[in-house]
């Protein structure tokens, strides 16, 4: 058999397991992305609070989570919680680890968007009697989100690639199933090119969706 036929044969044989791993990757990403987006939003409110104690706590969280390696955080959650008597599944630990770190990045991204809105809008809204959180919700955030769709999309793509780290705690996502396929077949280059293609499909899709959202947002403005 020539090389192309051999490779095709190998990829067809491993395809079911790789697809199963790809679906788990999509599952982890689909759970972690909304969680990170929401947690980031919840984090940016205290981050921009007037009280330096509250803002300080938020800043401490953001700095800690951004500056420590995600893999170390995932291990800590997975192997550390049992010491407290808790045994969440590896999927839960993986999603939690990813969401907790990326929430920190999202919070900073949101903050950039919010601060880019002219302070005059704040003043005008406060002047007609709106409370701070309402201003944020109804006036500032809708405009801010439109501005930061690009960076948010960036973060989501980085998050998708970070899902490969949860293979270290045994989640059978794409990178883990690829490693097992390589052990079965001893053909690493072909398998890694194949999963590279899978990740590319996923990230390109998410990037395209974000760009579509940006277009619609720009058109409606």
């Amino acid at each position: 058999m020539d090389y192309a036929a051999q490779t095709a044969h190998l990829l067809i044989r491993e395809f079911p397991q790789l697809i199963a791993g790809f679906l788990v990757t999509i599952g982890v990403a689909s759970a972690a992305i909304p969680l990170a987006l929401i947690l980031g939003l919840l984090l940016v409110v205290p981050r921009m609070a007037k009280s330096s104690a509250i803002a300080g706590a938020a800043i401490a969280y953001i700095e800690l989570m951004r500056n420590t390696p995600l893999l170390a955080q995932i291990y800590l959650i997975y192997f550390g919680l049992p010491l407290l008597g808790l045994y969440p599944s590896e999927f839960t630990c993986g999603v939690a680890g990813i969401a907790l770190q990326h929430a920190a990045f999202m919070a900073e991204t949101y903050r950039g968007g919010i601060e880019s809105i002219s302070p005059q809008q704040w003043e005008a809204a406060r002047a007609i009697g709106m409370r701070k959180l309402k201003v944020l919700r109804l006036v500032i955030l809708p405009q801010a989100i439109v501005r930061i769709l690009g960076p948010l999309g960036n973060q989501m793509i980085i998050l998708i690639k970070d899902t490969s780290l949860v293979s270290a705690i045994g989640v059978m996502e794409l990178t883990m199933t690829a490693k097992m396929a390589i052990e079965r077949s001893a053909a690493s280059a072909e398998i890694f090119v194949a999963i590279g293609a899978f990740y590319l499909i996923l990230t390109t899709f998410v990037g395209a969706v974000v760009r579509l959202a940006e277009h619609y947002a720009a058109e409606s403005n």
């Binding site: 090389y3 192309a4 490779t7 997975y78 192997f79 049992p82 010491l83 045994y87 590896e90 293979s167 270290a168 705690i169 045994g170 059978m172 883990m176 490693k179 097992m180 390589i182 052990e183 079965r184 077949s185 001893a186 690493s188 280059a189 072909e190 090119v193 590279g196 293609a197 590319l200 390109t204 395209a208 760009r211 579509l212 277009h215 720009a218 058109e219």
Partner: protein, 292 residues
């Protein structure tokens, strides 16, 4: 100017472009020749010209390969690797120890990143389809570790949906699991230390380990014990290297033969005693008529 048409054009060109790029991938890796035995040089000649050997090892399977308190990579496999350097160059420091994960063992010998591997690797015939093995340099077997107070005493006890077993990514462990305890849940990790920690911290009821590794862990961790019933016959760990290199395989196999029961047995005995506390036995010595 319709932004939608622009957008669609851009997306399709990106997809087409990446398709073109990806199509280069398989044909590019086809440029590396499948090992052609006649044309490429034997590893043995390449190594003698280079002046050192590069050996694939692990750093997370005590006592075969691990990082000690001083931060140095030590272990039984590491000392064996140094013996090979001594045989080729007369100098056991002419070795580069290349730490690699268990999933990288076969690719790294096949593409020449390492010259051979000495890495807690059991000889199985299906592996021999893809890599070459010398004869074994140490006997082993696969056992199960559990926590000391666990109610598991036999392998059959594990065959219950309420139990979890930690495996390595090696496919043979999953196959064993499906055969011996299919009702249990499996966890798969890519490192032996993660497997061990899973049992120690209660994430798994049991883990499949090489017997010398299991005994070593049990020695330092009184809350872990090894089941009496082994999962396999007595197996052997051996040096693995790429196929199609007879000259290199013959040299390595000759050295192993001499280590485990011939002219280099004293050096081997010293290493064995250092890591396992007992002396190895050798059938050749028993039959030779020599008294001690």
């Amino acid at each position: 100017m319709t932004s939608r048409r622009e957008f669609v054009t851009k997306v399709s060109s990106v997809v087409a472009g990446s398709g073109l790029v990806l199509a280069q991938g398989p044909s590019a890796s086809a440029q590396q020749p499948a090992p052609a035995s006649g044309s490429s040089q034997s590893k043995l000649d390449e190594i003698r010209a280079r002046g050192k050997i590069i050996v694939g090892v692990t750093s997370e399977a005590p006592p075969f390969g691990f990082i000690d308190e001083k931060g140095e990579l030590v272990g039984f496999d590491i000392d064996i690797a140094k013996l090979f350097a001594k045989e080729i160059f007369g100098d056991e420091t002419k070795v580069e120890l290349f730490k690699q994960g268990f999933a990288a063992r076969w690719p790294n010998v096949q593409n020449g990143t390492v010259d051979f591997g000495a890495q807690v690797t059991t000889v199985y015939p299906d592996r021999a389809l893809n890599v070459a093995f010398t004869r074994p340099y140490i006997d082993s077997g696969i056992v199960l570790i559990v926590k000391k107070d666990s109610s598991i005493n036999k392998v059959a006890d594990l065959n219950n949906a309420s139990y979890t077993v930690a495996h390595l990514t090696a496919p043979v462990q999953a196959e064993r699991g499906k055969r011996l305890y299919p009702n249990a849940k499996f966890l798969t990790f890519d490192s032996i230390s993660a497997q061990f920690n899973a049992v120690k911290l209660g994430r798994a009821t049991a883990a499949q380990l090489d017997s010398p590794v299991a005994f070593y862990y049990a020695k330092d961790n009184p809350d872990i014990r090894v089941l009496d019933e082994w999962l396999t016959d007595v197996t052997g760990n051996a040096v693995f290297l790429r196929q199609d290199d007879f000259k290199w395989w013959l040299f390595l196999d000759t050295v192993v033969a001499e280590m485990v029961g011939g002219s280099r047995f004293s050096a081997y005995k010293a290493i064995y005693k250092k890591w396992f506390g007992i002396e190895p036995s050798s059938a050749r010595i028993a039959q030779s008529g020599r008294k001690a």
